[in-house]
């Protein structure tokens, strides 16, 4: 039985290969994988403004309250706190703080360095007064654990105080508590944020009707606004996981309290963690909900006023909730337009951003963000130019079975079209096998490079793996970008039913405030008379089209039947190749797909 199924699947997939390769023409797509030496790492490909981090909608992580991870050298306020950060180095962060309104210590007429009031929330013997003997660490000569913590947080606050100026002290509530931690798995290290936000419509702050974090608001008005912590006041709260010091992550693990940034591999440098989290508490943060796009009480955060989506051409306060929601995951199109941060970044960030620059055809020409691989050859200094060709491999069966996984564009077996790939850059879908296997198959077919199209998100993944035999450069592109390129580079994917009727699907996705998103449906033939279609992703079937031979009935005709699970605008065109007659069925945008039952579609029997 299993063998029969296998044969059936193989036959069906073989039909799919035929449908994809026969009678269809792909455009010549030319492009170049380059290290763009005129673009600084961490900046937008066209505007040059600093990029903000946008989590992938499929694989969420972090938030827009961070710099993009492409910035080099690594920045303090990136989502991941990297070990190569300069110790207690605020890098370009003061520029952003200045943009949102913080006076800086070097500014003419600025008040003195901000003072800090630390309010330990823990009882005696805990946290900052923990009497556990401390052996000492570089730059930290405390004799107790509590003393080491005091020294460390003073050093961290000193870094912020050397940059920010205010007449109003910042009240920082700190508590050391056992927070979530599982040995060998992971832990919460720390958490921080402002306790209050303020807004005014009478000119107290640079922007009216705009939320400011408490410490920043107080700096702008020069006085305390929250009241005493004992009265439920305070500006910033910081939680630090005390369990880390109890080796909760495993034997030998713990926080590193040295004040030099040279932590051993099994320890976690606490100073940059707290430095980073305090940055959020001091104002490096949006109060707008990333996931819904809703502003806090219907008003923007001052941070939002400097967030601009380059694709939408708007700042966050100019957008609708839906647009902000989309912008929050708009990969490498969300920028910081504050002048001070960008001025600091200009001499700070390294030049040389990897890109895919498509030069033709015009409809897909442009610069695309790419991910790079840890295997394969480097991107040549002069770039890797060539035609981008769709790699089609043997109809291998998907590992998990089922017809929802396309298996002939994934490069998981030897290329069926080596003549198309020789001397060209292979375009391959992600999924089904290791990145290195895809790359090796492309290389064996003569490809000079490979581009892997993400199947689960609009960000181009970094590509892991090891294979010394792979020597061609390999990069990735996001799903939407890859879909556009694939539309042009790969044969059109009509379904051929009854070996006579060519069924093509065109879709048009309209989203309020966003550019139109159009493409061809991809046909997957199920039987000789039926095919299903997906639009952008093979794991998301949208339509089923069936052509029934009604020639033997009372009113002889070929019937066209269709059903769908979409409300996008769709055109289904069926062409009878026997005589060139065609018919198009249209489903309007925003309308649940209307079933087609056209029993007089083609009166061209037999």
């Amino acid at each position: 039985m299993d063998r029969q199924r296998t044969i059936l699947r193989t036959a069906l997939l073989g039909l799919l290969v035929l449908a994809l390769t026969a009678g269809s023409v792909a455009a010549q797509v030319t492009g170049e994988i380059v290290i763009n030496q005129t673009r600084q790492q961490g900046t937008h490909r066209s505007s040059g403004a600093l990029l903000m981090y946008t989590p992938d909608p499929i694989q969420p992580g972090s938030s827009v309250s961070h710099w993009d991870t492409s910035a080099t050298p690594n920045l303090l306020m990136e989502p991941a706190i990297n070990p190569d950060l300069g110790f207690l180095d605020l890098d370009i962060t003061p520029g952003l703080m200045s943009d949102i309104g913080w006076p800086l210590t070097g500014d003419p007429g600025a008040p003195g360095p901000v003072e800090f009031n630390i309010f330990p929330l823990d009882p005696p013997g805990v946290g900052f007064s923990d009497p556990t003997p401390f052996a000492g660490a570089n730059g930290n000569d405390a004799t107790t654990l509590g003393g080491a913590r005091v020294n460390l947080i003073e050093a961290v606050l000193g870094a912020w105080g050397s940059s920010l100026a205010s007449d109003a002290p910042v009240d920082v509530l700190v508590t050391w508590q056992p927070l979530p931690c599982v040995a060998g798995a992971g832990a919460v290290l720390a958490a921080a944020g402002p306790l209050y936000a303020f807004f005014d419509d009478q000119g107290a702050f640079p922007f009216n009707n705009t939320w400011y974090s408490a410490a920043l608001a107080e700096a702008l008005v020069g006085q305390d606004l929250t009241g005493a912590p004992a009265d439920n006041g305070g500006d910033i709260i910081v939680f630090i996981n005390s369990a880390i010091d109890d080796e909760c992550l495993g034997a030998g693990t713990g926080y590193y309290y040295g004040i030099d940034g040279n932590q051993p591999p099994n320890q976690i440098d606490l100073a940059p963690v707290v430095l980073h989290e305090l940055g959020h508490g001091l104002g490096f943060s949006s109060f707008t909900d990333d996931e819904t796009g809703q502003e806090l009480q219907g008003h923007p955060t001052v941070y939002d006023r400097f967030l601009r989506d380059e694709k939408l051409g708007m700042t966050w306060p100019e957008m609708t909730d839906r647009q902000r929601q989309i912008s929050a995951t708009d990969f490498r199109d969300l920028t910081w337009v504050g002048a001070e941060a960008n001025a600091l970044a200009a001499p700070y960030l390294a030049f040389g951003m990897p890109e895919l620059q498509v030069t033709a055809p015009a409809e897909v020409a442009g610069a695309y963000e790419i991910g790079t691989a840890v295997f394969g050859g480097p991107i040549p200094a002069g770039g890797l130019a060539g035609q981008i060709a769709c790699m089609i491999d043997a109809p291998d069966l998907p590992a998990a079975g089922g017809l929802t996984e396309r298996t002939i564009l994934d490069g998981c077996s030897a290329a069926e079209n080596p003549a198309d790939l020789a001397g060209r850059i292979a375009l391959i879908d992600r999924g089904g096998c290791a990145f290195v296997d895809k790359a090796r198959h492309a290389q064996e077919a003569g490809a000079i490079g490979a581009i892997i199209v993400n199947n689960s998100g609009d960000s181009p993944p970094g590509l892991g793996g090891t294979d010394p035999d792979v020597t061609i450069p390999v990069v990735s592109v996001g799903a939407s970008d890859g879909s556009r390129i694939r539309e042009a580079a790969c044969p059109s994917q009509a379904a051929s039913l009854h070996d006579r009727f060519q069924v093509t699907v065109r879709w048009n996705r309209q989203r309020p405030g966003l550019p139109a998103d159009m493409g061809n449906g991809h046909g997957v033939q199920i039987t000789n008379n039926t095919a299903w279609f997906y639009f952008a992703r093979p794991d998301n079937p949208q339509l089923l089209v069936k052509i029934v031979n009604g020639c033997g009935l009372e009113n002889p005709a070929w019937w066209v039947l269709s059903g769908g699970v979409t409300n996008q605008e769709v055109w289904i065109t069926v062409e009878d190749t026997a005589n060139g007659v065609s018919k198009t069925y249209h489903n309007p945008a925003g309308v649940p797909f209307r079933t087609t039952l056209d029993t007089q579609a083609f009166q061209t029997c037999p």
């Binding site: 981090y53 989590p55 969420p60 972090s62 938030s63 309250s65 961070h66 990136e78 989502p79 991941a80 706190i81 360095p113 003072e115 630390i118 309010f119 330990p120 005696p124 003073e154 606050l157 000193g158 105080g161 002290p169 927070l179 979530p180 931690c181 599982v182 992971g186 832990a187 919460v188 290290l189 720390a190 958490a191 944020g193 306790l195 209050y196 936000a197 807004f199 009478q202 939320w211 004992a230 009265d231 439920n232 305070g234 939680f239 495993g250 591999p265 099994n266 976690i268 989290e277 806090l296 991910g371 840890v374 992600r430 999924g431 290791a434 990145f435 993944p461 970094g462 892991g464 793996g465």
Partner: protein, 157 residues
């Protein structure tokens, strides 16, 4: 002329004064913890770069702000870390209380669910992959079998 009416007024006046005194006492008493924030004789720390830090005495009352909410937040993360897929209701949309102050400004008490959290996952080689995020992304990072380390590379496919 001192008469019964005058006596009543004096008694009333004394009563009012006593009431005022009691109220003042309450106000003064209420202000005491705030004054304790600057303990007498406790000199602030002046760092080498001139930044001044004031250390305030431990006061258990400070635990009051949103302690229950914090407990809920971290308890939720603990469940996520343990691999359970638990309901996250209430964490991402915690209540925000807004009030107008005497000076006309609006003041919002922010929920702890808006905190940024630094979390780490241990890689198989014992090194750490870190992420700073708000809930629920932080929890998703903790529970993900292959944590999407933003700066790193996806594993194999």
């Amino acid at each position: 002329m001192f008469d019964e009416h005058s006596a009543r007024r004096i008694v009333r006046g004394l009563g009012a004064a006593a009431l005022v005194a009691v109220c003042l006492g309450i106000v003064a008493f209420g202000a005491t913890p705030a004054q304790a924030a600057e303990p007498a004789g406790s000199a602030p720390t002046t760092l080498s770069n001139g930044v001044i830090i004031h250390w305030n005495p431990v006061n258990r009352q400070y635990e009051a702000p949103s302690a229950a909410e914090a407990a809920q937040l971290f308890a939720e993360l603990q469940r996520q870390l343990a691999g359970e897929v638990a309901a996250r209701a209430g964490l991402t949309s915690g209540p925000v209380s807004v009030e107008r102050m005497d000076n006309g400004m609006m003041r919002a008490r922010l929920p702890l669910s808006m905190l940024n959290l630094s979390v780490v996952r241990m890689r198989p080689d014992g090194s750490f992959a870190g992420l700073c995020s708000q809930e629920p992304s932080a929890a998703a990072f903790l529970e993900a079998p292959q944590a999407p380390a933003p700066a790193g590379t996806l594993e194999e496919r």
